[in-house]
């Protein structure tokens, strides 16, 4: 029976080649997008879920409550892990990890240098490997109990020493002179992991002046804990608050707190971040899933429209089958078989499309997704599910309608449009489809417009042709800074060189409490940037009062921004000059006020800012060049740098590239919206074309009569188009409020945002009407042009 059904189904599809093509095209494009979205979501949700004790693993994170809000960090004070191990009995294991980077040198047996690289390294306690069951190829966690040992992953061991076997016992020289013995080799880390622990150095090797300081926290020092079996994280509130009371005296402006963040949250929580630096907020995944559902929905709507439209043509067949004794259930099964055949064909095409689009998706997300059924059988399950869902969604209603025809009427070909699901339902479906399309069009316009606005927003400083060259800051390199700066300044094309800890706009911000002209700390924090006297010219900062910093190696004077004065209620910038600020234990006068510039990304507002000199904190060399000279100057900068600092590794980036990076996620969202709006538009409009083809065929006779009565081609085209235009206008009315809600919510995360005007809405309406007109006219013109005689002759 099934075989017969399938055969009839395929014949029917073949007979209506045009409609079949439209159905398959729409469905397969929708399915391909769904498939890609699924691959992406599957990959993103697979992070960190293959550890044995995953449900018991937590990260300790820090919070500070200020009057203006909570400040969060994934780091903990360095003395926290040992203290927690001692005090909180509910923890089975506690492990400290310190994220850092180092210059690593590997020598050949004869003592000459084999390679020198700057790599991210992790200082970790052996307990970390008891919490996380990483796979050890050589050695075991206990080797990390000894100072000056290092554990490498297989790939790193191969690059450094040729193979895992050869690596054991060899030495790696860290930061010019500290030899580390390779004591273990780990299996390679999975790409879907928040733990890129490629080079792990024993924690006992780690030295830092703040080793015992509870007041200094960097986000690079993380602490992981393993709860004892059966301990509920909520039950730990009491021990943690006892712990807080014991170690914090409560005098700092921000009230300290520590929370336990579950392992499963690490990859998704943008408040904290993780060691791998890859975050995928769950909201974005949900957003993608919703778009996926929209896509399938629009494709299914096409299908339902076409199927019910064609139903009249099938009525005679239904009548005859019924007279022959077929029951309604059997007819439903038959029509569902047809839908199933279309869905399966579409899926095959969708697989091809998805495979073709995958490289594009990978480069957009900078990920490495693969479409491999064998390593991830869940993909196969998803595809089967998708086919069944689509067949049911798209096939069930038409099957119900068609199988419901009365046989007596059906045989006499007297089934009218009204009985076959009618134009009413189809109109509603088309309106829904268009509403979805229009929401996406508006969303796309607003997102692109906002991105353009952000890019063109004056930042208050010069971003063009500024290279940011990192410089090592230690007792060996610091004395060479002056020489380095002098030599780079002399390179032709270089106009200014400044040493600083961060560019004006940066993701790395140093917040500190301070007092202004009194001994009491202010209730808010200040953003401190360390820079030398050339910083103003290198970045083109403007002064509002006073002068910029003078040449000093230690902090002896401060320059502040206008926002700080506003927050302190100082009206005239000049009034602040000469007043004293105490920050990080240094009391110094204000000598100048700079005009506000964006010191964070444009999602945030400008914060109060303090500029001062401190050679010990410089990490960057900002090289301002003439725009045309960049190509010639950059290699020379690198050459000079390597001559002055031969034992270090050079790296550089450009200011404008860095700023573009802040908006990476907006770029991805923008591209996604462009693509998906395009795809949904495509699906909707081929559906529309199918529908108008059907309507035109249905109304051939009417058109012919009207033509004979004297209607011109233009009038007939207008007649056919009118109802579609009305539908699109309705869809616009439905879509506008939805789109408004969506875009205002999206825009609210930006502090600098476009005014939402009426024109994205108007443009969406214009686009939808134009494309509808074009699509519909294409077909209705042909219908209106046909010879009236042919339509009227064989009545």
């Amino acid at each position: 029976m099934f075989k017969l059904n399938l055969k009839i189904a395929l014949r029917n599809l073949w007979r209506n080649k045009g409609y079949t093509a439209i159905n398959i095209l729409g469905l397969s494009v929708g399915m391909a997008c769904c498939l890609l979205i699924f691959l992406f979501i599957r990959y993103q949700t697979s992070f960190d879920n293959n550890f044995a004790n995953a449900s018991r693993i937590f990260r300790v994170v820090s919070t500070w409550e200020y009057p203006e809000g909570i400040f969060r960090s994934k780091g903990t004070p360095r003395p926290l892990p040992p203290a927690m191990r001692e005090d909180i009995k509910e923890f089975e294991k506690v492990a400290a990890v310190q994220h850092s980077s180092a210059i690593l040198k590997v020598n050949l047996p004869d003592g000459s240098e084999k390679l020198k690289v700057n790599r991210a390294i992790f200082f970790a306690e052996p307990e970390l490997f008891e919490i996380f069951n990483f796979n050890w190829l050589k050695g075991n966690p206990s080797v990390l109990n000894t100072p000056n040992t290092v554990v490498l992953t297989d790939t790193v061991a191969r690059t450094f020493f040729g193979s895992a076997e050869q690596a054991i016992g060899q030495s790696v020289i860290m930061n010019q002179g500290q030899p580390l013995r390779v004591a273990g080799v780990l299996a390679n880390m999975q790409p879907n992991s928040s733990f890129p622990l490629n080079i792990v150095v024993s924690y006992k090797t780690y030295r830092d002046p703040n080793m015992q300081s509870w007041g200094s926290v960097t986000s690079a020092s993380e602490c992981y804990v393993l709860l004892k079996p059966g301990v509920h994280p909520a039950s730990l509130q009491a021990p943690i608050s006892r712990f807080l009371k014991k170690y914090y005296d409560g005098t700092a402006p921000g009230k300290e707190g520590h929370l336990l963040q579950p392992l499963a949250d690490l990859h998704y929580n943008a408040d904290y971040g993780n060691l791998a630096g890859q975050i995928m907020p769950r909201n974005e995944l949900y957003g993608l899933a919703v778009i996926g559902i929209f896509l399938i929905l629009t494709a299914c709507i096409n299908f339902v429209n076409m199927a019910t439209a064609q139903a009249v043509g099938r009525s005679k067949e239904v009548g005859i089958r019924k007279v022959m004794g077929s029951r309604r259930k059997e007819l439903i099964v038959q029509f569902l078989t047809e839908t199933l055949a279309i869905s399966v064909l579409s899926l095959l095409l969708a697989c091809v499309l998805a495979e073709m689009a995958l490289p594009g998706l990978n480069s957009l997300f900078r990920e490495n997704l693969s479409f491999s059924l064998f390593s991830h059988p869940v993909i196969f399950v998803f595809m089967v599910g998708l086919v069944l869902l689509v067949s049911f969604l798209a096939g069930f209603y038409p099957a119900l309608v068609i199988s419901g025809f009365s046989p007596a009427l059906a045989i006499k070909n007297k089934i009218s449009q009204a009985a076959s699901g009618g134009m009413g339902l189809r109109r509603v479906l088309v309106v829904v489809q268009f509403a979805i399309t229009i929401v996406l069009i508006i969303g796309t316009i607003v997102i692109l417009e906002q991105m353009r606005y952000v890019r063109n927003q004056p930042l208050g400083f010069d971003t063009q042709a500024v290279a940011l060259v990192s410089v090592p800051n230690d007792s060996l390199s610091r004395p060479r800074f002056a020489n380095l700066r002098d030599r780079i300044t002399k390179i032709p094309g270089v106009t200014e060189v400044s040493l600083c800890d961060a560019p004006p706009s940066s993701m790395n911000n140093n917040q500190s409490s301070f007092s202004y002209n009194s001994t009491r700390d202010e209730t808010f924090q200040i953003n401190v940037k360390f820079a030398d006297e050339h910083y103003q010219r290198a970045f083109g900062l403007k002064l509002a009062a006073g002068r910029f910093l003078a040449r000093r190696d230690i902090t002896a004077e401060y320059v502040v921004n206008e926002t700080l004065l506003k927050k302190l209620n100082v009206r005239e910038p000049a009034d602040a000059l000469g007043k004293y600020i105490v920050c990080q234990g240094v009391k110094a006068p204000i000598v100048g006020v700079v005009r506000d510039f964006n010191n964070m990304t444009l999602r945030e507002t400008i914060s109060p800012l303090l500029l001062c000199s401190r050679a010990a904190s410089y990490e960057l060399l900002a090289v301002k060049m003439e725009g045309k000279a960049i190509m010639q100057a950059m290699p020379q900068v690198e050459k000079t740098w390597n001559e002055v600092l031969p034992e270090y590794v050079y790296s550089s980036s450009f200011m404008d590239e860095q700023i573009a990076n802040y908006y990476e996620s907006e770029r991805v969202t923008g591209t996604l919206f462009k693509v998906f709006a395009g795809v949904i538009m495509f699906i909707s409009f081929i559906g529309l074309f199918g529908l108008i083809s059907y309507v035109a065929t249905q109304r051939t006779r009417e058109l012919a009569i009207r033509k004979v009565l004297g209607a011109s081609t233009a009038e007939l085209v207008q007649l056919l188009n009118r109802s579609f235009i009305v539908m699109v206008c309705c869809a616009n009315l439905v879509a506008w409020p939805l789109a408004y809600l969506f875009v205002t919510r999206w825009l609210s995360q930006f502090n600098y945002r476009i005014e939402l005007t009426v024109w994205p809405f108007a443009l969406a309406m214009l686009v939808s009407i134009t494309v509808t007109l074009a699509t519909v006219t294409l077909r209705s013109y042909r219908a209106a042009k046909t010879n009236a005689i042919d339509a009227l002759k064989y009545e």
Partner: protein, 229 residues
């Protein structure tokens, strides 16, 4: 009113010319009531379509009210038949989605006649045809004869000088057919409307004043009707 000169019409079918009309020449004066007769497939309907400018002849010239139709563009042709020709079909060809009143009104809309005049003309016709009570019904709610009356009313509403009727009574019972034919005769006699009808029925042909017989695409006879009914 109508001058046909050497009209030929053929359909190219697989390289062979399949002639429908050959060397048809005829002239119809204003006020005539002509019946075109002949066996099936003789080319009667094609001739009527050519007269109604729905089809173009392959060769030959056609002058309508002194103007050469064959060299006219579509826009002008539509203009001509909008103003001068009304069609009546065997299958009525009413628009199912429109009421009686709307069906009759349709040609006036295409003639861009203002709503008030449209209303009065339609009301006038409804009155004349005794269909005022049925004006809001749909075609499917009417009998065949009534539908054809609507069809004729629709043909008349634009006040044409020529009515082309393709077997107007072919789908009707004889009583209804007689009624329709006497209506045609009345229109021809009292209002001077030229009528060309295609018919199979000898009896219907007697309502007219001239019979053209066509066989195999050629005009065989052209005879006046002696004793008009």
């Amino acid at each position: 009113m109508i001058e046909l000169n050497n009209i030929e019409k053929y359909h190219p079918a697989k390289g062979i010319k399949h002639y429908v009309l050959r060397h048809v020449s005829a002239s119809i004066a204003s006020g005539e009531f002509v019946s075109v007769m002949g066996p099936s497939g003789a080319g009667k309907s094609t001739l009527l379509n050519i007269l109604g400018m729905l089809e173009e002849p392959t060769y030959g010239t056609y002058h309508f009210m002194g103007e050469d139709i064959t060299s006219m563009n579509e826009r002008k042709r539509i203009e001509l038949y909008r103003n001068h020709i009304g069609f009546v079909f065997q299958a009525y060809h009413l628009i199912d989605e429109m009421t009686v009143q709307e069906n009759i009104e349709a040609p006036l809309i295409y003639k861009k006649i203002v709503a008030s005049e449209r209303k009065s003309r339609v009301a006038d016709l409804l009155d004349r045809f005794n269909m005022v009570a049925k004006k809001d019904l749909f075609p499917s709610q009417l009998s065949g004869g009534q539908q054809q009356l609507v069809g004729i009313a629709r043909a008349l509403v634009a006040e044409p000088s020529l009515i082309l009727a393709d077997e107007p009574t072919g789908n009707l019972q004889s009583a209804q057919a007689a009624e329709i034919m006497s209506l045609f005769r009345k229109l021809n006699r009292e209002e001077g409307i030229t009528i060309v009808q295609v018919t199979h029925s000898e009896k219907n042909a007697q309502y007219g004043n001239r019979i053209l017989t066509i066989e195999d695409g050629v005009v065989r006879t052209d005879t006046p009707v002696a004793g008009q009914l």
